[in-house]
Symmetry: C2
Subunit: 155 residues, 2 copies
DNA sequence: CATTGTACCGACCGGATTGCTATGCTATGA
DNA sequence: TCATAGCATAGCAATCCGGTCGGTACAATG
């Protein structure tokens, strides 16, 4: 037993979303016309190949990557890194990023909605999160990666 | 089977956090020196009394509410509504609101942290969420509630 | 043409969490 | 004294999480 005053885990982003982002970022960093095998990515990212398989299946079906089967096969981004936002990737894997269901759409709206003031809190959070993730592209992240690398070398 | 392209539920706030906020807001709306029974709140909020009991226990132990037992007993906010932020309540129930564990503190930081660029995304989300919830008090919500009420009457 | 490396596919699984319900106890005040 | 209220704990079905296992289809290479 640990001594926490709270229950549960709060509003976490699951490994699917995080791994998907790392996977896409890895592909972005190796976006040079060649197909990259999952095995290679799995080794670099230190994530089980089998688990990554499930994740890239979703990315593939959504058309975010293209694949070539057989020996020397692999995956490649279907578009330029600058064409993918973090939001696209997270929403694909995690669904709507809204912190509560009732603000997603009309269908999920509860009858209390009119009197409900807490919903305005959730809406603000939702807007803020979307504003962030929709304005960061894989290109931004690769650039940042190289900046950090340069920093490390100069130590 | 429903036809979703994604897995899981995304970064949701659980009912504990949402109900706790509604409970505290209910107490804020009835903050007049009287102790309010759970039964009353449960009826107004349409949440099971027994479930609310579990939630208010946490709020009570954290000193957010004070209670009087026995017949005619009940709960009251321990401080002015303006003294409680949404963030205090949510963090109490849900733990840290950070979207990933590795940005919470040194202990949970992974070895990849230096090279990791995705962590900067999570940090931005974390900052934005905290900035919102820490700057909304129960007083703000009660005010908003009355505004909405006035709006409804004037239709 | 066989081998090997890859993508692709689906079943399965243990454990944790969620969102409750049920039961019962203890303290209090009318 | 007895109803009312808080307090504590157990149980539970459903879902989700974070994977594993075993296999098939396919393309390049020797």
């Amino acid at each position: 037993m640990d001594e926490r005053s709270y229950w549960g885990e709060g509003m976490r982003i699951s490994t699917k979303g995080r791994y998907a982002l790392r996977l896409m970022l890895d592909l972005a960093l190796h976006y040079n016309g060649e197909f990259i095998s999952l095995k290679e990515i799995a080794e670099r990212q230190e994530i089980s190949t089998k688990y990554l398989e499930q994740i890239i299946t979703v990315l593939n079906r959504a058309g975010f990557v293209k694949s070539v089967r057989g020996a020397q096969g692999g995956y490649m981004l279907s578009k330029e890194p600058s064409e993918f936002t973090v939001g696209m990737i997270l929403r694909l894997m995690e669904g709507d990023l809204a912190p509560v269901r009732c603000i997603e759409d009309e269908e999920n709206k509860c009858e209390r909605a009119e009197q409900c003031v807490t919903v305005e809190v959730w809406k603000k959070i939702d807007e803020a999160v979307n504003d962030i993730v929709d304005n960061i592209t894989l290109r931004d992240l690769t650039e940042r990666y190289y900046e950090k690398g340069a920093l490390n070398y100069s130590i």
